[in-house]
């Protein structure tokens, strides 16, 4: 869950920690990643998941990290989705774990 009171996220940084910080937003909250992070790394070093599962009660964190499983697609505030494992973080990104409220979503 995206509990901001949790001090750290799921992924643990082991190396390469001297890179420049990059600020971005996830679900409206300010987060900081490092230059060269994938979007997945940047989110999951602060949070424990990326999005809700569509077909079950769980949350999703990505699975293969090589662009093959398509588990880590998340949303941008301006609409288009992106694959978090293969997208490099840019400063100022505004990302969402669910579709923007203005986005047309099929009724289930």
């Amino acid at each position: 869950m995206n509990d901001p009171s949790r001090p750290t996220g799921r992924l643990q940084r082991l190396a390469e920690t001297e890179r420049a910080p990059l600020d971005f937003h996830f679900d409206g909250q300010p987060l900081t990643g490092l230059e060269g992070d994938s979007v997945l790394t940047a989110i999951l070093t602060s949070r424990t998941d990326l999005r809700a599962a569509e077909f079950g009660p769980g949350r999703r964190t990505g699975f293969c990290l090589m662009g093959a499983c398509q588990d880590c697609w998340i949303w941008q505030e301006n609409g288009p989705r992106l694959r978090a494992c293969s997208t490099t973080l840019r400063a100022g990104m505004r990302l969402l774990s669910e579709p923007p409220s203005t986005w047309p979503v099929a009724e289930s």
């Binding site: 890179r19 499983c69 588990d71």
Partner: protein, 463 residues
């Protein structure tokens, strides 16, 4: 000039590009990564500082040689490179390529496919929860991003990557809770002898890595379940040791993988035929020894036959020389013969690996009905079993009725386990279940990228 398209810039694709460029062609290389190297020699972003010896260990020299070679080919304009680009489909000599600017059409005369492999996971009860990853993901996270997937990671499955990733994580200071190998020691010894006969030094290096895992490593285990909360992820993994004793290992992350699965979707769209490989327990494309798989179609690397990075370099050269020979160019027959001999040695080694670290067919066949088989859409083993009376034991019909293989991964991570479940229920061999047909686009693409007018597509401009 003949337009040769190479898909994939791993060891096979890079060596193919080098061979073609040396013959005066200027091949086009399409690759999904930012920087060429493939998965095993994957390069972190440019601002990262860990040296190759840290990233690639004993293989640092080979990795650096390939990276430098590719950068040099690019700097001297001997190749065209489309990074961050996926081939979505192939039709009538045109590749539909999705890149940062949208979809474009790349016409080609000859095609070399070097798309590598993915992990081959098997379902384990609970594997659909957050915080369960593939084994390759654990390695990519470390190598390309400098992160560990959790604080207490369990690595489970089988194959050379299991031991390698565990050793790399330990070296990097990650918390590894256990390394659970489903391959019995007896199989590992039998296969290991064949491995050692073919490549003694590589086999010894593997044994050295294994020794460093110490008591974290367990052979011959059976995985029972990953327990935890679907929202927050694993809390523990339940397993049985080689003597059948129940064990529990607390963890916050699990990485699963049983060696590799060839990535063959594009080869199929390009017209390759397939055979069931009894060695690898999966469908593999059919080619001649040099990689010819159809008119103007060449395959190389793990996407053809899972021989690993060294074998992929050889196969990349072989395929490129075959392509050159078919174009009427003179090639070096001595070099081709030498590489063919080297490839045979790689094949003997790989056959030993397959014997040492078998696919856990019995574990999959015994999965309970409520275990999720398709982690994309949460479809259970029981749902597939219940489909069989209507679909019959055939993968594509069962897919239509159960949606096993229809999710966003397009069956990459459930097809082989699904075939095992169907085969068990039908008292048959998984090869008799047929093979899921590959469907374009082989990667998801936004509709606006695909909605291109014909005249724009022919000019290669994004829509």
């Amino acid at each position: 000039m003949t337009r040769v398209l190479i898909v994939g810039a791993g060891p096979a694709g890079i060596r193919a590009a080098q061979t073609l460029a040396a013959a005066g062609l200027r091949p086009t290389v399409v690759d999904e990564a930012n920087r060429a190297g493939g998965q095993i020699y994957r390069r972190p972003p440019q601002s990262f500082i860990r040296p190759p010896s840290t990233l690639y260990g004993s293989e640092a020299g080979k990795a650096t040689a390939l990276h430098n070679l590719f950068d040099d080919l690019l700097a001297t304009d001997q190749i065209a490179h489309h990074p961050q680009s996926s081939v979505l489909g192939l039709h009538d000599g045109v590749a539909q390529v999705l890149g940062p600017g949208g979809v474009s059409a790349l016409p080609y005369d000859r095609l070399i496919i070097a798309t590598g492999a993915t992990d081959r996971p098997a379902p384990v009860p609970g594997w659909e929860m957050a915080g369960v990853f593939s084994l390759g993901a654990a390695q990519i996270a470390l190598k390309a991003q400098g992160v560990a997937l959790g604080r207490r990671i369990v690595l489970a499955g089988s194959g050379p990557l299991l031991t390698l990733v565990a050793a790399q994580l330990l070296d990097a200071g990650a918390g590894v809770a256990a390394v659970l190998d489903t391959a019995p020691l007896s199989a590992q010894i039998r296969g290991g002898l064949a491995m050692a006969a073919a490549r003694p030094r590589v086999t010894l290096r593997g044994l050295g890595l294994r020794a460093r895992l110490g008591r974290l490593y367990h052979a011959g285990v059976t995985l029972d379940a990953i327990e935890g909360d679907p929202a927050t992820g694993p809390a523990e993994i339940r397993w049985r040791d080689a003597r059948g004793r129940a064990r529990v290992t607390p963890c916050d992350s699990v990485a699963l993988g049983w060696h590799l699965r060839s990535e063959t979707a594009l080869a199929e769209l390009a017209g390759a035929h397939f055979d069931w490989s009894t060695i690898w327990s999966q469908w593999l494309p059919v080619s001649d020894d040099e990689g010819r798989a159809g008119p103007g179609l060449y395959l190389a690397g793990d996407g053809l036959s899972i021989l690993g990075a060294d074998g992929a370099e050889i196969a990349g050269r072989l395929a490129a020389r075959a392509c050159l020979a078919d174009l009427g160019q003179t090639t070096d027959p001595a070099a081709q013969a030498l590489d063919l001999r080297a490839l045979r040695r790689m094949r003997r080694f790989a056959t030993g690996i397959a014997r040492a670290f078998p696919w856990p067919a019995q574990m999959i066949r015994a999965l309970p009905d409520d275990t999720v088989l398709c982690r994309c859409e949460g479809i259970t083993c029981g749902a597939l079993r219940a489909t069989l009376p209507r679909s019959g034991p055939e993968a594509n019909r069962a897919k239509s009725l159960s949606r096993i293989g229809m999710g966003r991964c397009q069956g990459r991570y459930c097809q082989l386990a699904g075939a095992e479940i169907m085969a068990a229920a039908s008292d048959a061999h998984p090869a008799q279940m047929g093979r899921l047909r590959a469907q374009p686009p082989v990667r998801p693409a936004p509709l606006h990228a695909l909605a291109v007018r014909d005249d724009e597509a022919n000019n290669g401009r994004p829509g």
